[in-house]
C-alpha cells in the first residue's frame, strides 16, 4: 500500500453469515478520514514473518467516520489473509490500514442504479445505500448468495430497502434472471457488479447480445491474486534477485524485500503498480493493460501477474 498507514483497533467483530465475519475498526490516534461510496482500504496483517495485505470494501455510512466496518469472507483457497482475519483477529486486535481509495464509485449521472451483488460482493454496496437513499436516487439491489455460506445482511436489507431489495438464495434454488433484468431497463440505467467472474461474464455476454451499452456497466473486479508457479525476479536497477513463491504475488514478494511499488487495488484494475519488464515471458492476469500493451511484453502489473517461465527481469 502506498502512502501513510492508519493504526486501528478492532472494536467489534461478529459473524454476519456462515463464512463472513464483520469487523469494526476504530482509529487509535487521529480521526478516520472521510470516504466516498464504494471505497476500500487495504488491511495489513502481520503473521510472524509474513505480511498479508488485502483490500476490503468499507461497509459503513460514508458520512459516519467514527468507525470503519469491513466484512471478510473466509476463502476456502485462502492464501492466508482471510483465514488470518477469521482465526486470529478479535476484539482488541490491532491492524494497519491504508487510507480509503475508491475504484468503484457510483456514476451519479445515472437515472437508475441496479446493484448486482454476488456473495460477499454485497460489501461495496453497503456504503452506496445510505447515499442513494439520501439523494432519493432510483435504485434496486439484487443480492445473489448461498445461505449456507454467504447472505450477509439479508434480513436487515429486506427491512431497510423494502421493495428495492431482491434476494436470490441458490440454496433455495432461486436464480437471478440477469437477462430479463437487463432487458427491462430504461435508458439511463447503470448496472454495478461485485461478485464472481461468472456473474460479471454473464452481464457482459448479455450486454453484447442485446446491444446494452457497455459504458453503463461498472465492475468491482478486484480479486485476490491467484497462486502460480514460483519464479525468480531480477531487479535490473538495484541488481537484486528475489524469489517469488507459489502462494505470493510478485508485489508481495517485492514488499517483503522492502521494495516499494505504488499500488491501490492489489487486484489488477487500478493501474498504479505498472512495472517495466526487460526480459522474460509474462503471464498477464490483470484487467488494466490493453491487449497491445500485454503483447508488447514490456510491462506487467505485479499485484496479480507473474512470470510464465523461471525468470523475469524487471526495470526496477
Amino acid at each position: 500500500m502506498s502512502g501513510s498507514y492508519i493504526e486501528v483497533q478492532v472494536e467489534q467483530c461478529r459473524q454476519v453469515a456462515p463464512a463472513i465475519k464483520e469487523f469494526a475498526l476504530k482509529a487509535l490516534d487521529a480521526p478516520l478520514p472521510a470516504f466516498s461510496p464504494g471505497s476500500h482500504v487495504v488491511v495489513e496483517m502481520r503473521d510472524g514473518q509474513k505480511t498479508y495485505r488485502n483490500p476490503y470494501s468499507l461497509l459503513s455510512d460514508p458520512r459516519d467516520p467514527s468507525a470503519y466496518r469491513i466484512a471478510v469472507r473466509l476463502q476456502e483457497q485462502s492464501r492466508g489473509g482471510s483465514r488470518f482475519m477469521h482465526e486470529r483477529i478479535a476484539e482488541g486486535s490491532r491492524l494497519r490500514i491504508s487510507p480509503p481509495a475508491n475504484l468503484f464509485a457510483p456514476d451519479w449521472r445515472a437515472r437508475k442504479h441496479i446493484l448486482l451483488a454476488g456473495g460477499v460482493g454485497i460489501t461495496p454496496f453497503m456504503s452506496y445505500l445510505p447515499e442513494l437513499q439520501r439523494r432519493n436516487a432510483d435504485f434496486e439491489l439484487h443480492h445473489l448468495f448461498r445461505s449456507s455460506r454467504t447472505g450477509a445482511y439479508d434480513a436487515d436489507l429486506r427491512q431497510r430497502l423494502d421493495g428495492r431489495y431482491f434476494a436470490y438464495d441458490s440454496a433455495r434454488d432461486k436464480r437471478c434472471p440477469v437477462a430479463e433484468l437487463m432487458a427491462a431497463q430504461s435508458p439511463g440505467t447503470h448496472i454495478y457488479i461485485c461478485g464472481p467472474q461468472s456473474l460479471i461474464d454473464a452481464v457482459y455476454a448479455n450486454a453484447a447480445q442485446i446491444g446494452w451499452p457497455q459504458e453503463h456497466i461498472h465492475v468491482e473486479a478486484f480479486a485476490a491474486p491467484e497462486p502460480g508457479e514460483p519464479f525468480e525476479a531480477v531487479l535490473c536497477k538495484s541488481g537484486k534477485t528475489i524469489q517469488v513463491g507459489a502462494e505470493e504475488s510478485l508485489l508481495e514478494a517485492l514488499e517483503r524485500e522492502h521494495i516499494e511499488v505504488p499500488n491501490l487495488c492489489r487486484g489488477g484494475v487500478c493501474g498504479q503498480c505498472v512495472t517495466g519488464v526487460r526480459d522474460g515471458a509474462i503471464e498477464h492476469r490483470d484487467h488494466f493493460l490493453s491487449e497491445r500493451e500485454k503483447s508488447s511484453g514490456q510491462c506487467l502489473m505485479p499485484c496479480v501477474s507473474r512470470a510464465k517461465g523461471p525468470k523475469l527481469e524487471l526495470e526496477i
Binding site: 432487458a183 446491444g211 459504458e215
Partner: protein
Amino acid sequence: MNDAVASYTVKSRPDYHEVAPDQTAQCHVFITDSAGLAQSEALCQASPVAKKQAWHIGDSDTLPAGYEAIQSGDWQAVLGEQLSGFGIATAFYVSGLEAFLWQVHGVLTKAGFAPSQIHLEPPAGNQRDVFCTHCYHITPDVSTTPARCAGCGRLLLVRDHFSRLHCAYVGVQINAEDPAEVPPTEELS
C-alpha cells in the same frame, strides 16, 4: 505555461468514421437533417430489419418512405419526448451537418443513452456553426475562414477547435490589431 501553449495549438476536431449498422441492437433509430437524408436512407436500408424508426428533422414535404417528419421549430424538445418510448438497447444513427449531429447527440445523451449507442455519420457538408468568443453568438452554416460573426460583425478566424458543448467551432477575431486589415478568405475543409 507549457500547458496553456499546448492547449492553444491543439486541434480538436471530432473523428468520424463510416458507420455500419449495429447488428446486436434491439431497435434502430435514424435521425437526419435535409443534408444527410441520402446517407441516412442508405444506412437505413442496409440495417437489419429489427424494430426501426426514422425521423427527418426540418421542413420538407417529400420524404422517403419510412421517414417521419419533425418540424425544425422546437425539434430538440419534440425529439426528446419521442425518445421515451425506446428501450435501453437502442442504436441511433445520425446524419447531417456537423452541428446537427452534435445537437442530436446532446438530446440523446440527455435522455440517458450512452455514446457507444450513438453513431454519427461523417458530416454531410463542410459547413460549420461558429461560436464567437467575443459576443458568444453562434453563426450557422459557415464555410469559409475568416467569416463575419452574425452577432457582432467581427471578422472571425474559424479554428479547428470544436466545442461539443456549443456544437460549434470556436471563432476568434483575426484582425484585432487593425480591423481594417482583411486577410484572404479560404474554403473550410
